[in-house]
């Protein structure tokens, strides 16, 4: 109560009390008669009145020239704190407060403009978050939903008030999915394109592609996560449909391929059986034998195809060892040279002397090269060579320019192949051969090369020839080392 009374009134009150006490003493002791005492009393009252008046003047000065401007300043600052940036001070008075008011007004307008800028940026960013069709959800470190955007409301059917403060797991079809995603996050603070499913308010399941990022404050403290999810339900549906139709198309293609290969073999069986029947009825042993040979050829082709099919679907695990390609080449030479000669084809080899042993499965590489050489032979037989031209197959091997890979080339100057054939040569059951082709030879070859972490490519021009190029890592690739280690451990 006492604290609220201004200091001037307090002082005045004290002087009045003292004056009353002095008057009381004067009355009791009769000091008025004493001229000295009379003077002292007059002086006292004069001084007292002067002090009271000075205090009054001081209060007036302080009240009007300091306290009021300070109060105005404080009021304006309070208004600033309450984001009322239009509050300005009067700058008319010509004193120190004028300067202060002017600085304050400056500060207020600067604050007002930066606040307006901030609001604009905030509105812009909020606009982006709100107008995007993606689902954007922020979650507290405790796993409670903090905010969701309009995209989330639309996609999931919830209103903000339905979900804010609730556990984020309520949106997942499998509540463990979020935990799994967070575990994948690791030290990067991000998990990208994590595929999961959300359940909408009315129970529908939506496929989403989720990217979650950790949110941190400037000190690095985790303040939650933000998840941006793209609704991919429609795309998934289309993808499934496509996969479904592709699967059927692929099965159709396989069946067509098998049927095409089989009909030539069955053709042999049927024709051979006819000759067997005829030979039996006419007791013609020669015809019987010829017919039976044709039947057997058909059966052999069917058996080969069945073996090839098995071979194609099996998992290829090469048995790696250091192999000199010269050894494989000389084996192929032994097998093919005579056949080539019989067909009027020249077979030549060109093996680079600087080629080191290659880490590979000798049996597989032999089989792959042999298959391509046989095709080259067929290509040479199929072409009509002009006078002076010689059908030729060149089998060569050399070190790749980086010294890490061995390159095996099989080049022929045979009939070559048109683009559409070249495009399909590694496709299972694709064959241009009438009798013996199962359409699996080159598919198997390419799978064997792939199992070596190698590559196979082909260049061909109709009526000019074909080059098959096999590239094999020599021995230093990590994958090969791993494969060898795998082999060793599986043997031990």
């Amino acid at each position: 109560m006492l604290k609220r009374i201004p200091i001037f009134w307090k002082l005045s009150f004290v002087f009045i009390i003292i004056s009353l006490l002095v008057l009381l003493v004067d009355a009791l002791l009769g000091v008025r008669e004493d001229p000295v005492s009379k003077w002292s009393l007059q002086t006292f009252f004069t001084i007292a009145i002067a002090i009271i008046l000075s205090c009054g003047a001081a209060w007036f000065f302080v009240y009007f020239f300091i306290k009021q401007p300070v109060r105005k300043l404080a009021n304006s600052m309070n208004k600033l704190a309450e984001n009322e940036f239009d509050s300005q001070l009067n700058e008319d008075e010509r004193n120190e407060f004028n300067t202060l008011a002017s600085s304050f007004n400056n500060m207020a307008s600067m604050l007002a403009s930066s606040q307006a800028e901030l609001r604009k940026n905030k509105d812009f960013l909020e606009g982006i978050l709100e107008s995007t069709a993606d689902i954007i959800i922020t979650v507290s470190p405790e796993g409670k939903i903090l905010t969701i955007n309009k995209g989330a409301e639309t996609a999931l059917g919830y209103q903000r008030q339905d979900v804010i403060g609730k556990p984020i797991e309520m949106l997942f079809v499998d509540p463990h999915d979020r935990e799994v995603a967070l575990q994948k996050m690791g030290p990067t603070d991000n998990v990208m394109n994590y595929e999961t499913q959300f359940r909408t308010k009315n129970g529908d399941v939506r496929d989403v592609l989720n990217t979650i990022s950790r949110l941190r404050d400037p000190t690095g403290k985790v303040i939650g996560t933000i998840g941006i999810s793209k609704d991919i339900t429609a795309e998934k549906h289309l993808q499934d449909q496509l996969l479904h139709s592709q699967r059927y198309a692929a099965i159709g293609q396989v069946f067509t391929g098998i049927q095409h290969s089989m009909k030539n073999m069955l053709n042999a069986c049927k024709g051979g059986a006819y000759m067997v029947r005829l030979g039996l009825s006419k007791d013609d042993q020669q015809m019987l034998k010829e017919g039976w040979d044709i039947v057997q050829e058909g059966i052999t082709c069917l058996t080969d195809m069945s073996m090839h099919m098995l071979k194609y679907v099996k998992e290829w695990k090469p048995k790696f060892e250091q192999v000199k390609l010269s050894k494989i080449f000389s084996e192929i030479d032994n097998v093919i040279k005579q056949t080539a000669k019989d067909k009027g084809v020249q077979f030549r080899q060109d093996l680079s002397s600087e080629l080191p042993p290659v880490l590979c499965d000798a049996r597989m590489i032999h089989s792959a090269v042999m298959d391509i050489v046989s095709n080259a032979l067929d290509a040479c037989v199929l072409k009509e060579f002009l006078d002076g031209e010689t059908p030729e197959i060149v089998l060569s091997a050399y070190l790749d320019h980086d010294g890490q890979k061995a390159v095996i080339e099989i080049e022929d100057n045979g009939c070559g192949m048109p683009k559409e054939v070249k495009k399909n040569i590694f496709t299972p059951f694709f064959s241009t051969k009438t009798r013996t082709g199962t359409g699996l030879g080159l598919s198997i070859t390419s799978r064997m090369i792939e199992a070596h972490n190698g590559e196979i490519e082909v260049d061909s021009k109709p009526n000019c020839g074909t080059v098959f190029r096999i590239t094999l890592p020599i021995n230093k690739t990590k994958i090969n080392e791993e494969k060898i280690d795998g082999e060793k451990s599986s043997h031990s």
């Binding site: 009909k263 006819y274 009438t434």
Partner: protein, 149 residues
């Protein structure tokens, strides 16, 4: 005099058993193993009927067919083609394009091309199509149907 039937097929077995079957039924079979040899034999032997395979080295059955149909001397030669074209053509007639399965795509394209070539060149279509695997007796019956005995 026995009627001559030329069999052009790169599959030696087909040529062999068809020859036996035709011979058994009083025809004179002649074999050729690719398109080039086929055209030579047509010219040299002047057959009454041609049994022609489609997929052959050097010269395909279609190319050979086109060549003989353009030649005045052979444009009326009776031809049996060893292919499933007839069935596929029927499929094409009965199915709308949208419902055709994918595996037919390349075949359909090839057929269209062939049919277009035949139409452009005003070629007479082959008398008959027989798809493999073939029954020798059935082929002989068709031959008899076309050229008699």
């Amino acid at each position: 005099m026995a009627k001559k039937v030329l069999i052009v097929d790169d599959d030696v077995n087909t040529v062999k058993f068809l020859s036996v079957a035709l011979q058994e039924n009083g025809y004179e079979p002649i074999g050729a193993y690719d398109g080039v040899e086929g055209i030579e034999k047509i010219k040299s032997e002047n057959p009454d009927l041609l049994i022609l395979d489609i997929m052959m080295p050097k010269k395909s059955g279609f190319v050979l067919y086109k060549q003989i149909r353009k030649d005045e001397r052979f444009k009326d030669l009776k031809v049996i083609m060893l292919t499933g074209v007839a069935e596929t053509l029927e499929d094409l007639d009965t199915q709308s394009e949208d419902t055709l399965e994918r595996p037919y795509d390349s075949l359909r394209e090839k057929l269209r091309e062939t049919i277009k070539t035949m139409q452009e060149d005003e070629l007479v279509r082959p008398e008959m199509f027989i798809d493999k695997p073939i029954e020798p007796e059935e082929v002989v019956a068709k031959v008899t149907e076309l050229i008699g005995n």
